[in-house]
Symmetry: C2
Subunit: 111 residues, 2 copies
Amino acid sequence: MISKRLSELRKKRQWSLQYIADQLNIAKSTYAGYESGYRQPSLEAVKELALLFETTTDYLLGVTNEEQPTVELTHPTAYITVDGKQVTEDEMMQLIAFIRVKRDLSTQKEK
Amino acid sequence: MISKRLSELRKKRQWSLQYIADQLNIAKSTYAGYESGYRQPSLEAVKELALLFETTTDYLLGVTNEEQPTVELTHPTAYITVDGKQVTEDEMMQLIAFIRVKRDLSTQKEK
DNA sequence: TAAAATCGTTCGCGATTCGCGTACCTTCAT
DNA sequence: ATGAAGGTACGCGAATCGCGAACGATTTTA
C-alpha cells in the first residue's frame, strides 16, 4: 500500500528518487526499496515522508483514501474551529443553512 | 512518541495489554514492547492500532497532537464540503465573517 | 486464607528485516 | 563516444522483530 502511494505522489511531483533520499538523509537504494515494496520505511521515515509530500500518514498507510482530508460539515469528522474557538452545534446548523441558501440563490440567478 | 501515545490511550480506556494483543493477534510481550519503547510496531500494526483506538496514525506517530483532528476554518488543513460540494473560498470568507459577527453580538448582549 | 488467575515487565533466542554500497541498464545531453 | 542522471536489483553486516518464558505484584476465586 505505502509503496504504491509513495510512487504515485513522487511521480505527480516529478521528483527523483535521489531528491527524496537527500531530503530524508537516506540512501537512494533505501528509498527505492520503499517504492518497490522491497523494504518498509521506519515509522520516523513515514512521518517525514508525510511532511515532505504534504499529506497525512493515514493516506500513506492506506487508512484513508483521501490524499488531502475532507470534512463534510453536515457530518463532521473533526472539531471545527474559527479563531481557535470551537464552532458550536448551533452555529454549525446556521452555517450549513447559510451555505444552502446562498447556493440556492445563485442557482436561480443563473436561470 | 508512539509508545507514550499508546500507553495513554490504553489507560484511558482501561484496557489490558492482553486485550490489545488479542485484538491484533500478537503476543502480549510484543505489544508491551510497543508501549515500553523496546520495540516499534510494524506499519500494519500501527494501522490496526489507530482503528482500535479510533484515532489517526498521525496522532499515534506524533505528526499531530490532536487525538481527534481539528480544522481551523481560517487556515483549513482539509477540504471543507457541504452536501458533498466543496465550500468555495468566497463562501468560506463569508462563513468566517458570519461566525465572528455572531460571536461579537452575543458577547455584547452579555454586558 | 490458600490457590489460581490476571496484570505488567523483562529478557534471550532465532528469524526477519533494515540500510547501505555497489553494480547494472537506459536515457539524454554534451 | 562519453559522462551524468534516473531507476532497478542484490548481497552483506547490523539492527530489530515477534515470541515464549519467567518473574513479582495484585486481584479474584474457591
